[in-house]
Amino acid sequence: MDYVIEMLHITKEFPGIIANDDITLCVKPGEIHALLGENGAGKSTLMSVLFGLYQPEKGKIKVKGKEVSIKGPLDANALGIGMVHQHFKLVHNFTVLQNIVLGMETTKGGMIQMADARKKVVELSEKYNLFVDPDAFISDITVGMQQRVEILKMLYRDNDILIFDEPTAVLTPQEIDELMQIMRDLVAEGKSILFITHKLNEIKAVADRCTVLRRGKYIGTVEVKDTDKEAMSEMMVGRKVNLTVEKSEAKPGEVVLEVKDLCVKSVREGHSQNVVDHVSFKVRKGEIVCIAGIDGNGQTELVHAITGLGGMSQGQILLNGEDMTKKSIRYKNTHGMSHIPEDRHKHGLVLDYNLAYNLVLQQYFEPKFSKFGFLKKDKINEYADLLIEKYDIRSGQGKDTITRSMSGGNQQKAIVAREIMKNPDILLAVQPTRGLDVGAIEYIHKQLVAQRDSGSAILLVSLELDEVMNLSDRILVIYEGAIVADLNPKEVTVQELGLYMAGSKGSKSAGKEEADHE
């Protein structure tokens, strides 16, 4: 048996788009095979084909040498193929054990029997060092733990071909190392792994071979040890990329945003806890301050408290010296604050409005765009055309396009354009490049730096370590709601930053000291 999986000449079309165009992917037994490509390259579609969620128009699939027809996840599972999805497929109010057995329940007299399942899960978690509490609810455990549940789900089903879809996006560097080790252990036990990612370091660290896709097309398969990162990167993007951001030294001016002793309390099942814990910091004109941390350490709550989308239990927010603590969102919007929100679909856009309407989302009521309560549609359209031109926002019907139908990258560009055009004193950019391809990332990074150079203060919240290191002039590390370190990106390594983010370095008082820096 040469290959455990052979996906040969797979073509999958959607209306208006060929998501997979004659793609071939072959995985050898006992190897870790990386599938590399940008967002939108067709990786997820290819995997959905493998799992029978989509039927390809052309091509065939062989598993362990036999041609198979996969009609759904059950078929894939029967062939021993399992997957850890990028967005975990876990039911939040089920226990770990319930999630693992879902779809594979053992019953007796019609009733679910958990005892055997529990025994098997405990055995598996000991064998592969995947400790989790089987009776914990998913909503109560960390993302890292949830990933272990996903891995256990596959092992419980006796899968021997394991697919990891962007598994490291939500993990700390330390957790990533652990995951890499788990993957090596799994391969050592005879499993084969297909590892989907766009991170070259991880491929270098763990993969044996790598298949590259770009814009729905098959580019090639390489031996990882014989190929350098630059070459793989070029295969992925189709041109040479320069992921380091060109920027000059920051020239911080006066303080624009000051956050003093901010706390956000959350009450969950009777326990009250500070999800944002006595945070204080300042952001000055002409600097990019980055809040780095693992997802779910209070970043969202902190930003929401500053913008007014969420509440706060104590503290003060000053913008240009003016107390904004109790001011409305609209007041902040119109007094120098811009916000590129974390979730562009939830907060950033009214998806069923057209592009023009979205580009004036915080300004439609201003005299510029309305008179006596009536909208000046011509002015709104004019303004929209200006932004579309200036920021190269691409869409089917220009300003009349319903934003729902736009690509993620262009939706994000629209938001960035809107927020920057307000010429803010402080720009809060929360994960501004999430889910975008390299071109769009480069573009948005450039815009942020340009905005900094034109004198805005920028507060960047990011989970991507590369982005943090490349873009920021100062790094504040947030851990369990508290600022645990105030770092200079030039003087810190990624590994060190990871330790701070994981809470194993730094002290909770760092944020408070910062306030006294002056």
């Binding site: 997820s44 799992f51 969620l53 989509y54 759904g72 996840p73 059950l74 599972n77 997957m83 999805h85 967005h87 975990f88 497929k89 876990l90 039911v91 939040h92 109010n93 089920f94 319930q98 999630n99 057995v101 879902l102 779809g103 594979m104 329940e105 019953t107 019609g110 009733m111 679910i112 789900k153």
Partner: protein, 317 residues
């Protein structure tokens, strides 16, 4: 003491149909489909089964006839609910719209058919189903008076459905899968659960219980059916929300509404309430006002199934 027994028995007449229908709604919503059509489903179930009672009234009577009527009511509910299931699941239609259409269709259909068959829209039936006292059990002091006198077999069926629902939802494979579909259908799908099939099952169960609820509502409180279940389907939705989609709490909620309804219907027979001189309309309004007030206190932390009302699309991730 006899007043207490009387109110309790009356409460059961109102609470049991609410309980049954709300449990039906629970299965539907727990599978991820909002079923606002319960009112229409009740109407249809009541219509066909009462029509059966009417047509066989000359030759049949008693519990046997009632049991056949129950089967007919449930079957009607299932068939009718399939229209909602098809719209909601296959056509990914707006579930509120399709439910509304069913609610409009049912009474019109009932009147139309009743007129064709018998000329008038009211469907009469003779009530031969009341159980004066259950043998042996009825003579137990207190408990016998409360639960086993002046009752209907449907009361016990309702309680049986409650217990069965709780067991099915929490202890069986089916229940686990159903709940997964209502919370996170993508997770269920990835685990190999056929989401569409589970949702069909959920809606069909709500159809069966809704249809049954229609019959159970009409039998103890009337001797004819006039193409309406007086908003009980909607009240059952409120019970479902008040009951936070959980069987035990749904029971509590139905008893609460049953009690307010019973008082409204029977206050004139209760000397104490009748002497207070409160206008009858106030009693009629109390169940609805109470619902509003209760909802104010229970809606903040809604535990609605997360995916309920959102059409599940396999392709969307």
């Amino acid at each position: 003491m006899s007043v207490v027994y009387f109110i309790f028995q009356q409460t059961m007449f109102f609470a049991i149909p609410l309980l049954i229908v709300a449990l039906g709604g629970m299965f539907s919503e727990r599978s991820g489909v909002v079923n606002i059509a319960l009112e229409g489903i009740m109407t249809m179930g009541a219509f066909t089964s009462i029509l059966f009672l009417n047509l066989t009234g000359k030759n049949m009577s008693g519990q046997g006839q009632l049991l056949i009527a129950i089967v007919i009511a449930m079957a009607t509910g299932v068939v009718f609910s399939l229209f909602h299931a098809y719209a909601a699941i296959n056509m990914k239609a707006d579930q509120t719209i399709s439910g509304t259409a069913l609610n409009m269709f049912a009474p019109a259909f009932a009147i139309f058919v009743a007129r064709i068959i018998q000329g008038v829209q009211q469907v009469q039936f003779s009530n031969t189903f009341r159980i004066e006292s259950v043998p042996v059990l009825g003579s137990i002091p207190v408990v016998g008076d409360l639960f086993f006198k002046n009752t209907y077999i449907t009361t016990y069926i309702g309680i049986g459905i409650l217990i069965l629902s709780a067991v099915v939802l929490y202890k069986t494979k089916f229940g686990l899968r159903l709940r997964a579909c209502g919370e996170h259908p993508q997770a269920a799908d990835a685990a190999g659960v056929n989401v569409y099939r589970m949702q069909y099952a959920g809606v069909m169960i709500s159809g069966a219980l809704g249809g049954l609820g229609g019959l159970v509502f009409v039998v103890p409180t009337s001797t004819n059916f006039n193409a309406t279940v007086s908003g009980y389907g909607f009240l059952a939705l409120a019970v479902l929300i008040f009951g936070q989609w959980k069987p035990g709490r749904i029971l509590g909620a139905s008893l609460f509404f049953g009690l307010t309804k019973a008082v409204a219907a029977a206050y004139s027979g209760i000397p104490f309430l009748n002497n207070m001189g409160i206008p009858s309309y106030l009693y009629k309004m109390i169940p609805y006002i109470a619902t509003l007030i209760v909802l104010i206190f229970t809606s903040k932390n809604s535990q609605a199934p997360r995916a309920s009302g959102v059409p599940y699309d396999k392709g969307a991730r």
